[in-house]
Symmetry: D2
Subunit: 369 residues, 4 copies
């Protein structure tokens, strides 16, 4: 039975001096030509289910013939995970600055045309290697800033340094109250059929600060530039964010389902020798521009009627807003509907909202994948 | 159709000067001999379902022949309800002091033997009236403290002043992830069969700061003292806390079920003229001393296996604690069991816990009511 | 004595249904050619001193001959101001999303070359009027989004709508532990000599989401485009952010000092008829690119040695980091220095820090204004 | 030069599995008859200055002839210290439950008459030894509760177990914005003249959950019971809480001043061989019942005028409350006064308050010590 080696990644220091560290599990490559994989979980503190998926993944991989290097980082944000406020985990943003932990990854300022001009004589493998070195150097420079880096940037860029060394990057998140969905770059939409996930968001090449974007955007830009210079090459790095249903939930059995989905993809990519078939299920897609946020038109108490993952026809009830201060008027109970068909993907975690709270995220113009 | 009158109760002032106020709905007594009722909801900010029950109660009462005065206060803690921290409502305690909003009610320092000696010549009705006046005077003195009162005390004692004017006090709460349960004073355990609630905690005459205790403890003490002096009288005030399943949830249909339970009790007490039968369901009880808190024996991620409201045999799995930092050791996944039969009533809201977090509350030595 | 009229601006609704509203004080223009003024304070909840400055400003203006319209909004963020967490005001960012309240203003997507081409035949006054209408229309469209807008966006864009109607926009903030400083757009650096503020940051035309930028960036862009087309015109709108020393502080006497500075500027601009001389004091500037953030190189307890506003030579002690867990080693007490001369402008509010916490903000390459 | 040994005390576990531990510095007793000392600091997360005092104390003790055992625990609440909310440390209460970290110590349920009856034949030294064992056994039983103990209870009772082993217990705290003051049990008021602290609260034998009370209350009760049985003995344990001015402040020089005060007391008690004279300064006292909390009579912005530690005559200005929403009315600026002479000891940390916020704590009926 294969064994993962365990090590520890230092990502910061608390006020008491306690080290912030992340457990790192790794198995080395048997076959240097097999892709390498980086999986992390729980960068948002309340989004714990990814850890269970990593656990099940390790249990499965132990029995498999693993060809490529696999690096797994559960509990990837110790500060965020341990930060409670009331009964819940306040782990979506840095408690001091408010910055979303998943918007801290580094946007490299590499001049891609200049880089390409300098390295275009190399073959694909060498070009990839040189570009990877450039990305790693950029991370290193950022972390060595003589004025220091913020707590969140240190965490993110340290994780990014590991991610840039892999060919496949998988970031495990969850929504608040959510069905499973996947963020998938447009160039890689065929890969969505391997994961055990019914809904995929097809995303363009815009950097917004998230890990998946940090992993694939520079490569995609490089490939597009090369194409503009007449050289065709596939994007050498694949990166996905898996949203594993709701936060504040551990479900070991469901974790196994998602671990199987990841294995199906790794099998397809040749990371493992075993054949793992993807789950047989319908899968749907939506362009990111058609992914809508619906905000509460008024403050009040919310009865969420539309269930995440269940298609909702135009005019069907989405939610009720109850207003006890308006009892006896027409505002006492407001029924909310939408004017177009959609699939609600997630809704807000709390049943009481301010005006403007993001109530639902919904896919519109959904298509079969 | 009967109409509730609406007024507004001032309970404080925010830093911007905005008034904290609570909507008050009231119908006057038709029959002065019918008991009067006070119902409040949402003193803990995240426990919103009681508002929906009040809403359904009003909709039902509108069509009924209401004999006794009914006073309803939804949204009874505007500061707590509007206090978010991350996606959830941080409404269990004062954000400044940490004091639980439901531990702020006033423990009166009335000398009951002296009061009784002075008033024992009165008949039961007059005695009740005098004691009520003493309770109200005690509240008034407390609120008029020349050094001021805390934010939480002002809220609580203002609510208490209204509650003391009623014969029946109902405080609507919820648990975190919870089945429905009722706090019922021992002297009133026969009343538990009216509410649509399967599990009742039978509580003794100990003041712990909660509304129900604030409402009944002084009366119970008075009645016990009278008994020690040879005069038997029933406890003139009934007070219950209803825990309406989980927090952060509005369910209008389920609110109707609980409104029916309240109406069944009010029907029995003659507050309404209509006959409303209680729901036909098994009901169980547990003494407060047998209500146990189970604390996490270690930190980690929790898979809650035992469902609130479903009896659990000794040795059956309660929960798993997943520890990704201990992968490969016997601590990677710890199964928790209890050594005795119980009914889990509620569990913690979050799936990640520190060592010592209250994981479950469980009834032991459960009996049929 | 002149009277301000008071009205109220609705900016949202809480979960209880309570309206979020801002008091608006206004005096109408006597002279339509005099510039109009918009002043707001306390968009960050803990930054209260601006309210005191508005108070003193009103007390002064009451006795003056005010020519231009003046609109004053104290307490401009009722949600942020009332949001406590522990003893302090958690008012820097939306407690739900983490978004900084001062990064929510709208970046207009007006196509300036197209606008200019369409309106270049107008004279300066008319051109200004048309552009203002375009900005207001853009705000209106944003607020009318059928999918709704976030709580923070509604607040910000509602404030922005008022600000766009003024020729002079003043946003009153404070730092954490801070000396007074001013954000001043490069084109307007001569105006810095009017305020009672020793240090000015000279900022370029980059929109970062703040109110001052929201107010001047589109105008500056318009003027630059006109210049590129051969038409010279001054930037018609002036906008400043005043940082009035430290947060969580009300000082009525010091507020009068800053009110005098604002009046000196308004006097210079002809908003008031009275001559108000600026305070006689040295004033210094620093380009935004030379404004440095120094992050804690390690976690620990911090003794802040360098005082805000007092120049610090290279090598002089900035702060100590105390590490009780390292007692007896060379890490027990670390003295921090910088390698270049600077003026510390502000430091972090708390004496205990994580690694990476922003310890100080410092001006380097400071010049006399 | 004497060396402290360092060890580590485990007090819990975070959700990531990270151990919560406290550094423990200790020097063994040279002279078994010399009293033993326990000093802890920073049980409230924002109250950091006690760590600096422990640091200076260690630096001084290194050079001294220490006779009794000295145990020092800085950073005594790692969970509270590392818990930020916004820029400040949210360290006054458990973020999940709201329970004040300094109200968690165990009230022993030892039947003192029964204990005394059983052990009254022993001499004072033996009696003390037996009672100490009883206290330690009580702690041990509490920690071994099969249903577990809360996070805060585990921390507190673990600290208490160490404290019960000492003859002198010193708990280092601070106020919010505060002058130095001391909590001193009535039986020990003569000891107040050793510390470098001008104001002392003389406290009775009532257990309220704090460390000092946990340390001395059972002993005081034992001694009083013995006295009632005709046996006079001094209270064998001394316990003090030192409030070292304001929270969120590290001042190494001032820490030395307070370390000298502690050394003066230890010198007097014979813990160290050196003579250390107490600071020559006036010292005042106040009975706990005369220590008043003044609550904000309205919400608003607060200008704190009375300085902690400076006596305030009746009728002199205490604070102003500024209400911008009331501009132009008599409520725009309210001056607050008290009707009796007092010494303000501390005030609230924030400049904006709800109605009812505790604005000031003040000593009345102050006397010279």
């Amino acid at each position: 039975m294969m064994q993962f080696t365990q090590s520890s990644l230092n990502v910061g220091e608390l006020a008491t001096g306690q080290e912030l560290s992340i457990p790192v599990y790794r198995v080395a490559a048997k076959d240097p030509s097999a892709p390498s994989v980086f999986v992390q979980a729980n960068v948002h503190g309340a989004e714990v289910q990814g850890n269970a998926v990593i656990f099940q993944l390790m249990k499965q991989l132990e029995r498999m013939d693993v060809r490529g290097e696999v690096t797994l980082l559960p509990l990837a944000n110790p500060l965020g995970i341990n930060q409670k406020s009331g009964e819940f985990t306040l782990g979506r943003f840095d408690p001091i600055t408010g910055v979303n932990w998943n918007r801290e990854y580094l946007e490299h300022s590499i001049d891609i045309p200049a880089f390409y001009q300098q390295h275009c004589h190399l073959d694909d493998v060498q070009l990839k290697q040189q570009f990877r070195l450039a990305l790693l150097a950029s991370c290193e420079v950022h972390l060595a800033n003589p004025w220091g880096v913020t707590t969140g940037k240190r965490l993110a860029v340290t994780l990014q340094t590991l991610a840039h060394q892999a060919d496949i990057v998988i970031d495990l998140h969850t929504g608040p109250k959510s069905c499973k969905h996947l963020y998938c770059p447009e160039y890689d939409r065929d890969s969505a059929r391997f994961f055990s996930i019914p809904y995929s968001l097809i995303i363009p090449n815009d950097f917004g600060g998230a890990m998946d974007e940090a992993a694939f955007c520079p490569w995609w830009a490089l490939v597009e530039h090369a194409a503009s210079q007449g050289r065709e090459m596939p994007v050498p790095v694949a990166a996905f964010t898996l949203e594993l249903a709701s936060q504040e939930r551990i479900d070991m059995r469901d974790a196994l389902v998602d671990a199987q989905g990841v294995l199906a993809y790794l099998s397809f990519r040749g990371v493992i020798n075993e054949k793992v078939a993807p789950a047989d299920m319908p899968r749907f897609g939506c362009l990111l521009k058609d992914y809508k946020k619906y905000h509460a038109p008024k403050g009040g108490l919310v009865e969420y009627l539309a269930q995440p993952g269940i298609p909702l026809k135009a005019g069907e009830p989405l939610a009720n807003i109850l207003r006890l201060d308006c009892y006896g008027t027409e505002d006492e109970l407001t029924s909310l509907q939408l004017e177009q068909d959609c699939v609600p993907i997630l809704h807000f975690a709390s049943a009481s909202v301010y005006q403007g709270t993001e109530l639902y995220k919904l896919m519109t113009n959904v298509f079969e994948l």
